[in-house]
């Protein structure tokens, strides 16, 4: 019986157990003096097991009511409160399922690292996972902030794994700085929310009665703090630097999961902790989200570094999610519960989708990097023939992120667009004006992401290799394939079984906005509102396409002979055929750059006619950096110069300071 009583029952206890397991694993990995295989293989596959456990706990949490526990650590009055309700459970599922694939992949990716750095890396890696899980579990401000910063810190050390390179150091610094500023503003958020007299549990915050003004202050601070982590424009500058700098599995986790913790926090504060919402919040979030989405995808289109491209596309996806968040708020404050439920479903759905396909794409670039050591797309190409596994699995991810049916990216976009269509009849007329434009922007972003993905996939995997060395590129080994397979399978299944997924999400939606989507009786048919309104049945869709495809194939095969002759490409009969004649990454992005040049600081380096070996270089830099961040830096520098003047070495002046202070105070206090 004793044993049984020790045995955890509540899901939250299980979750805490797995977090502990991860922590222990991290330190074991640090101390273990074993072979590379033991380190990377064993430790990481155990970590993957932990991820699976977390996912399982999440599923259990979605099924069962909220469970909570208290740890004996933390501040004196404030031990760590943990709580696993539907919201955190859903994000647990996201974390666990995505992290499983990535970690399995990592176990083969990190094989070739040097022992010392691998030991540290495994520590930070598992600390990172544990931190993210704790963020989801935390039920008081202190635990939340500790977990939040542990997450940031460990990911910083992961980003700077290769700290010999100055750019990477710079990226890490920028990342940690913005993360820290965001964290301080979160502190202020909780400062307003707290009941006073140092009661920081979320429970008391839930019942804090705030005036609309202070509620808005909380909301804005939270938007700033979480936005800094999520890469919300204009707080996004760290993201395209840090994500490429990190080792690919880490980038996958950061992009796929860590950004979502920010979304989680935003939902937690706005819908759970705050019990008053103001109408204009939603409009603000919607506008910011749309700007972010467009900005991100435009810059993704002009990148030539493959991981940087993916990072920018993460910004785009976060923008879409944030737009959905804004719509949810609009509907919720407008008393349209059903619509709020719809957009919220779209939001959560897109969050988990992004975790899968962005994870998949990042590990895909990881294996390209592993095989070729090249990140610049200008030196890649034609890899489909040398690393088929990576190529075909990445193709699934690319199609999914481009929002093409029947994969998962399409489902969430579909839901979101449906929400846009149902807006007429909002109380504020100006919203009815805004919504169509918003819908147009989302559609534009989606279409552009297709452009981006064609560029990404076509330049890296198709065409002729732009470098002879690529001929020897080898595919990643079985563990890596397994990880990618898992993620790809996730993309497909999430795309094909939307009704099931939505029924899982349902408790979360019910918890946050009070009601959920009316499920259609038919498990094949996804009908958010009603069958007349709209419906989508990916399985039928997929079946039809497949059937038609096979039919045509066999018909062609049967009726006509299948003789095939191989020869050189025709290419309008041009004799010269050279890999360099294909579109480079820059070339492919050129039209977009031409159209959206206003957002960019374009640096071109064009050869003049007399160059011995003429080379073209073009970089499209983020204009915000130049018009926002550098001025801020300059102002700070100027201020510190002024401060420095006070300190100029002459003791008489120092005495005058004391004297003046004394006199001033004497006058002041009378």
């Amino acid at each position: 019986m004793e044993i049984l009583s020790l045995f955890p029952r509540e899901p939250v206890q299980w979750a805490w157990g797995f977090v502990l397991f991860w922590l222990a694993l991290g330190f074991v990995g640090l101390l273990m003096q074993g072979s590379q295989w033991l380190r990377s293989g064993l430790v990481f596959s155990l970590g993957a097991f932990g991820a699976l456990g977390i996912a399982g706990v999440g599923v259990a949490g979605l099924m069962s009511p909220a469970s909570s526990m208290i740890l004996p650590i933390g501040l004196p009055e404030l031990p760590f409160h943990l709580r696993l309700d539907a919201l955190s459970a859903f994000f647990m599922v996201l974390l666990g399922s995505a992290a499983f694939g990535v970690t399995v992949y990592a176990s083969s990716y990190f094989k070739s690292m040097v022992a010392g750095s691998l030991a540290l890396l495994s520590l930070w890696y598992h600390l990172f996972l544990a931190g993210m899980a704790m963020v989801l579990l935390a039920d008081d401000a202190y635990a939340f902030m500790v977990a939040w910063e542990v997450m940031a810190l460990s990911s910083y050390f992961l980003v700077t794994t290769d700290h010999k390179i100055p750019e990477i150091r710079r990226a890490g610094f920028l990342y940690l700085l913005i993360a820290h500023v965001g964290a301080i503003s979160l502190l202020l958020t909780f400062g307003v929310l707290q009941g006073g007299q140092g009661d920081y549990t979320f429970d008391t915050m839930r019942f804090a009665q705030l005036t609309p003004f202070w509620a808005s202050v909380v909301y804005l601070l939270a938007l700033f703090g979480f936005g800094a982590k999520a890469g919300l424009v204009p707080l996004h500058v760290w993201l395209p630097e840090a994500h490429p700098a990190a080792p690919s599995p880490v980038s996958a986790l950061m992009s796929g999961v860590m950004l979502k913790t920010a979304i989680y926090g935003l939902l937690r504060v706005t819908f759970d902790l705050l019990n008053v919402q103001v109408a204009w919040w939603g409009t603000l979030a919607l506008a910011l989200g749309l700007i972010t989405a467009l900005y991100g995808v435009i810059f993704a289109a002009v990148q030539s570094d493959m991981k940087r491209l993916l990072a920018w596309s993460s910004i785009e996806n976060i923008g879409v999610i944030l737009a959905a968040f804004g719509l949810t708020l609009i509907f919720y404050t407008d008393g349209k519960g059903a619509l709020a439920a719809l957009t919220l479903t779209a939001l959560l759905y897109h969050a988990i989708n992004h975790a899968f396909f962005k994870g998949l794409l990042f590990v895909g670039t990881g294996s390209v990097l592993h095989a070729t050591g090249v990140r610049h797309m200008g030196y890649l190409g034609g890899l489909m023939r040398f690393m088929p596994w990576t190529a075909w699995l990445t193709l699934i991810g690319a199609l999914a992120i481009a929002g093409l049916p029947p994969l998962n990216g399409f489902v969430s976009e579909w839901l979101l667009l449906q929400a846009f269509l149902l807006t007429p009849g909002l109380s504020q007329p100006y919203l009815n004006m805004v919504i169509p434009v918003a819908a147009a922007t989302v559609a534009l972003a989606a279409a552009l992401s297709a452009y981006v993905m064609v560029k990404f996939y076509g330049v890296i995997f198709l065409g002729q290799p732009r470098d002879q060395a690529l001929q020897h590129a080898h595919d990643i080994d079985w563990a890596g394939r397994l990880g990618m397979l898992w993620l790809a399978a996730g993309c497909v299944l999430l795309g094909l079984l939307p009704t099931q997924v939505i029924s899982w999400i349902e408790p979360v939606v019910r918890m946050l906005v009070g009601q959920a989507l009316p499920g259609s009786g038919n498990w094949l048919l996804l009908t958010p509102i009603s069958a007349e309104r709209a419906s989508y049945a990916p399985l039928i869709f997929f079946a039809v396409v497949a059937v038609v495809l096979l039919l045509t194939f066999f018909w062609v095969r049967r009726i006509y002979h299948g003789r095939v002759r191989r020869s050189d490409p025709w290419d309008c009969g041009y004799p010269e055929q050279d890999a360099r004649m294909q579109d480079s990454a820059e070339g492919f992005g050129q039209p977009i750059r031409q159209i959206f040049e206003v957002f960019m600081q374009v640096e071109r380096e064009t050869p003049d006619p007399f160059d011995r070996q003429p080379r073209y270089r073009g970089a499209s830099l983020d204009k915000l950096w130049f018009i926002l961040y550098l001025p801020i830096a300059r102002v700070v520098g100027w201020l510190s110069d002024q401060a420095g003047r006070l300190q100029h070495g002459r003791i008489q002046w120092y005495l005058i300071y004391s004297f003046a202070t004394l006199i001033f105070l004497l006058v002041f206090t009378r």
Partner: protein, 220 residues
């Protein structure tokens, strides 16, 4: 209650103290400065003794004696020695010219007086009004430290502040508890010893006691 001419004498001494402070402020030569400092100590000792006699606070005799020994004999002697050894007895150019300093000084005195005015009402002692003068002397000493550019005058200004504090302690409150007095005296003595070491260190490092050599540490 002691007869009133004691008080008049104490107040007279207070005025003398203030006068000496002003004199120090205007004094250019270091040797002269030291002499004035010695006189200040003398006046201090006298006032302490007087207050002791008038109010029968016997421990004030000890402090008077201590002052006499330390501030009238030991320190001036030590300073003379230093000046002779390092022969730094030149005219001291203050940062601000003398008249201006004087004007500032007068302003400070007025300020100090009406700062001390509301307080001295509450004093149970016979010599309440001296508090304002003590405060004025403190501020004047401060001003002197600011205006002087050489090490020794600055230190003397510092010690002048100490003196006026001591004056405040004796005349306005009939002296602090003896332990404190002793402690203060000890500290002052040790301070002076430390200073003497310092002077030689500075001298051998910069071969002068001019403070303008000591402006290297700054934000640039």
């Amino acid at each position: 209650m002691a007869p009133s001419y004691h008080l008049q004498i104490v107040n007279l001494l207070a005025a003398l103290l203030l006068l000496i402070s002003f004199a120090m402020l205007s004094q250019r030569r270091i040797v002269g400065l030291i002499t004035l400092f010695a006189w200040q100590g003398m006046a201090l000792a006298a006032s302490a003794a007087l207050v002791a006699w008038a109010t029968g606070q016997h421990h004030l005799y000890y402090s008077a004696a201590l002052t006499l020994v330390l501030k009238v004999i030991a320190m001036p002697w030590f300073f003379y020695r230093t000046v002779r050894k390092l022969d730094v007895d030149r005219d001291v150019e203050p940062m601000i010219n003398i008249p201006t300093t004087m004007l500032i000084g007068i302003v400070l005195v007025i300020f100090a007086f009406n700062l001390a005015l509301p307080i001295s009402q509450f004093s149970g002692t016979v010599t309440r009004s001296t508090l304002g003068i003590a405060l004025a002397c403190v501020l004047l000493g401060f001003l002197m430290m600011i205006t002087r550019k050489k090490a020794i005058p600055q230190v003397i200004g510092f010690l002048a502040i100490e003196n006026s504090l001591f004056f405040a302690a004796t005349s306005a409150t009939y002296g602090m508890p003896l332990v404190v007095e002793l402690g203060v005296a000890l500290d002052v003595m040790v301070g002076v010893i430390v200073l003497s070491i310092f002077f030689f260190q500075i001298r051998e490092a910069f071969d002068s006691l001019d403070l303008k050599h000591m402006e290297k540490l700054k934000e640039r």
